[in-house]
Assembly symmetry: C2
Homo-oligomer: 174 residues x 2
């Protein structure tokens, strides 16, 4: 079971403003920064409750693959569009991986600040692709949090885009 | 008067561990990542008291250009090596720039977490070169802090190095 993070962050490390606003990403939406290629390579998405709620506000359902929402507080999912394949999971990262592995999933896309941090803390992320957006937000929701240990990374590749995006791909050395 | 930041940071945004340890940078010391070219382009260095104290511990004096130490607590500098050109300044970033401009300096190298953050908050940084080191430190002294405003950046160039360093240069749009 492989796990990947693929996310955009400001130069000062935020993935959203404090009120979850990601409008600052809009100028880059049409930059073909390999998200589609990445999304084609995964077979399930794991997000936290907060990211789930942000995604719901988009109006249309984004994901064309099964989505697992990690939450210890949600008891059931709200009504979702018919084509949404979405399940609630209340488990620790290690157990999430075990459950999804048993169900045949092979490559998980782990997304959302807290969820990424929990998987990183548990040493359960294999690959991180960060697309750095040329802005200092000054405050917001951080991509990274405190980890119980250092984690050396192996730089795989960096790509730059005409809009100023800089995308770096790293493997985690286990 | 031009002001530049040139620093290394972990992927999670730290410039040192919580105890000021920068041993994790040692494997990259001999990577020729343009520090010499950058240092040749500046004519004075502005650092905070904390960075100054870290530099003192190195034993030998690093800087071959005048160094200004920002501090509101230090009353005088300790005894320094003879070749050190070093002065104490107790002033806000804007006043520091005015004073040094009047003295004929044209390009300042602003270094140290808090000092960089204070100059950024005041909108007084023109250029940032961040060298991303392939490691998640998990905790430490952050490069960036809270800013009172967003700051769009213009991506100038990104260079990658065989050791995995990724160096991105940005101009601040004033």
């Amino acid at each position: 079971m492989k796990t990947s993070v693929f996310c955009a962050a400001s130069i000062d490390g935020f993935i959203a403003k404090a009120d979850d606003d990601i409008d600052w990403l809009k100028p880059y939406e049409n930059d073909p920064h390999r998200f589609e290629e990445f999304f084609a390579s995964i077979d399930a998405v794991v997000i936290g409750r907060r990211t789930f709620e942000v995604v719901l506000k988009f109006g249309s359902w984004l994901y064309t693959k099964p989505v697992f929402v990690l939450s210890s507080s949600l008891k059931e999912l709200p009504k979702l569009p018919k084509r949404a394949v979405c399940e609630l999971i209340n488990a620790e990262p290690g157990d999430v991986l075990k459950q999804l592995e048993q169900r045949g999933f092979k490559h998980l896309y782990v997304d959302g600040g807290i969820t990424i941090q929990r998987f990183l803390s548990a040493g359960l992320i294999d690959r991180i692709t960060i697309t750095r957006v040329p802005i200092l937000l000054g405050s917001g929701i951080p991509l990274f949090g405190t980890l119980p240990h250092e984690a050396p990374l192996k730089h795989v590749e960096t790509r730059t885009y005409p809009t100023g995006l800089v995308q770096s791909e790293y493997e985690l050395v286990r």
